[in-house]
Symmetry: C2
Subunit: 492 residues, 2 copies
Amino acid sequence: MAKNFTSRDEDYSQWYNELVIKADLAEHSAVRGCMVIKPYGYAIWEKIQAQLDKMFKETGHVNAYFPLFVPKSLFEAEEKNAEGFAKECAVVTHYRLKTDPNDKTKLIVDPEAKLEEELIVRPTSEAIIWKTYKGWIQSYRDLPILCNQWANVVRWEMRTRLFLRTTEFLWQEGHTAHATKNEAITETKQMLDVYADFAENFMAMPVLKGVKTESERFAGAINTYCIEALMQDGKALQAGTSHFLGQNFAKAFDVKYATKEGKQEYVWATSWGVSTRLIGGLIMTHSDDDGLVLPPNLAPIQVVIVPIYKGEEQLAQISEQVTVIKAELEAKGISVKYDDRDTYKPGFKFAEYEFKGVPVRLAIGPRDMENGTIEVARRDTKEKEILQQKDIASKIEHLLENIQNNLLQKAIDFRESNTHKADTWDEFKKIIKNKAGFVIAHWDGTKETEERIKKETKATIRCIPLNNPLEEGKCIFSGNPSTQRVVFAKSY
Amino acid sequence: MAKNFTSRDEDYSQWYNELVIKADLAEHSAVRGCMVIKPYGYAIWEKIQAQLDKMFKETGHVNAYFPLFVPKSLFEAEEKNAEGFAKECAVVTHYRLKTDPNDKTKLIVDPEAKLEEELIVRPTSEAIIWKTYKGWIQSYRDLPILCNQWANVVRWEMRTRLFLRTTEFLWQEGHTAHATKNEAITETKQMLDVYADFAENFMAMPVLKGVKTESERFAGAINTYCIEALMQDGKALQAGTSHFLGQNFAKAFDVKYATKEGKQEYVWATSWGVSTRLIGGLIMTHSDDDGLVLPPNLAPIQVVIVPIYKGEEQLAQISEQVTVIKAELEAKGISVKYDDRDTYKPGFKFAEYEFKGVPVRLAIGPRDMENGTIEVARRDTKEKEILQQKDIASKIEHLLENIQNNLLQKAIDFRESNTHKADTWDEFKKIIKNKAGFVIAHWDGTKETEERIKKETKATIRCIPLNNPLEEGKCIFSGNPSTQRVVFAKSY
């Protein structure tokens, strides 16, 4: 499988594009900028969904579903949100096609079926949801509202890349309503913690938690919290955001509640989301020149078993033994695939599962049958060893934990060795140009400086880390006084 | 809660509409014909999804995701499908809004952002999926493809009703590709069986399995299999369909495979789907004049526990005991809610959970604390009894099974007593007009007769049952010879 596969050093971007296609994760569709998520890629999304959904429910959230379309007038209601998203949206203007009178095999838009008001395919759902919440909220008893939705959204992107940036993508969007500012801020931070916990403990992807600068903020938010990960090419990936929306949407949609004391107050809001983009981050954090590497906690297949045999009789004997081993592994909640296809040779299968990032491969042949052994290969380090079959399920269980931890540690090490302090503008430019990675530097706090730095180096402020230590210094660009360092990087 | 609630006898349609709103299942949105599925309604959908998804995977299917949009030219490719769906679809014509130069607070469609080719919001995904499958299928080794997708679809319906018929709805659509006709037909029937199994054993909704007549067939199918349920007002509900598509889509999108012998053959196809409409069927099958009745297998809350107390001390004692009972129930996989809100009285809570169809309500007060008892009320029959707390979890587990079975049996009995044979046109008209229900009658097999009957009585042929016994007779309408009876009803 790894033939004709570009290495990371050769061309990281090309490596990524080829990997997504060749590992059967996703492909481009007939619709500009929209992807088809193939079964193997979608199985990873299902694992992500299941775990996040569990974490959302454990923190008191429920799921609901709101309409795909947002009437234009609702979209206009929150000014900044409208401004931020109006430039990239799919607009439904008609509700019928009809047969082309000039060519009966063709369809044309029926001009008589023009909508009075255009509908926007949701790029995000604050507008339609806050319009709905208005009807749900009368008094403090109705608060908080803690809803999440799993949905598709559409943003008309000009340059798209599978998983990382597509016109349509799948995501979850939480939308909560609170009686007080503090409660809303606590919720915003809680969900950031949930995302960071998920990224580190399931994706094995370390993340920085921080706050966005004004210019990188979500359109309509007071504050945008984010988790930022570092990819192997030294570029940052914004992996999730949690927004404190203040009373912006409550004011735009006139959502007030009666306090215990009977006063009318505007409601406080948050929204937070992660998307199929996470799969892009997962790929770029761990994979190598031999293909995909998946952390066991999100691998659709955790263990694959390949029989090495000659003739049906040998296969039957091996299969009998594999049935036992498979059952033992499954009893421990490990997902196992036994690949006994006779249309492919073991070598082909080995290459296939290596490329698809299956964390552990077991192989069992006639000699193993004699000796009561089994060959165990791990995808992350490529190490192989022959183990006794006795207690194999416990051994594999530990190995999977080991792989999960190893991938996280490796990613943490990578991030550490690719995080640099810069104290001068020359130093900054040099690091960004050569090593890339996260650059920790003083910034004077102005939009103008941020913009100039971006223009000259393509690096942006990824975030101001939470609990950032205060430190007197001078802005690397303007030389003006600064009280803290912020995190710069080039980014996806 | 049941105050100001229309009874079924008064106005069945009104009863349904009020029930959906008052039980917090769904509501109309700001977008014409689109609904908001509220958390309680969505929780039912999640239970439906989880169970169906399990059944799909057990029968070898995998999930994937295909684009929301279908380019117009793909839509045109399968003629009948295009004809069937073109009349009711949302059409995206532009990809940008801009600020209205005459009013800076307003947005207008940017005329410069007109798409070269319009995009249709998928009403169903055969076209985009078969366009994709063309790239996936070269030889017999690539078959079968057994994909399902959970998605939203849009059909521009003129008359909408919550869950039953909405412009946007959620569904799953399976799309499979096979090497042979027989294999595809077997798949079509298998999925019909999965649907029937689910309807009967989870929804407690008995269904007739059958085949649609030509005029009721899915646009683009060779044969449409369906499950048909009978609602309490004597109208039928098509609850799920499974289509044998023959080679229609393979031919439209030129999808061929190389056989083992090296010949090129068109691929055989099926598609099958159920939607949020099932929730409408669930409601109308079981609910009564006191609100929703849910079968335990799909109830988001299976057991609610309400404390009866005076003062905090009593509440603390009761809560301690409830914690034990709740844990015992949960250990058996039963979902339990303990409602200790002090903002509402027990009577209010009783009414609320009754209206929301929670299958079992437990109440525990000071006297129960003394006697080691607990009050158990079942929603379906409204029976109450005082039980010893000892072994309460096993007792409740059996009660839930009992309720599930009772609901199914009740629905079967209802269907039996509302299924009638008609042998003459007068008899037929009378039954349809008075008792409604399923009417089993001879039909001459022609489209014309079917249409005339529909026009005169509003009854349609719901299906020709599978394994229908052959029986010589005369068409109730034309008097022409017929070989079998078919099932007529008015329908949703």
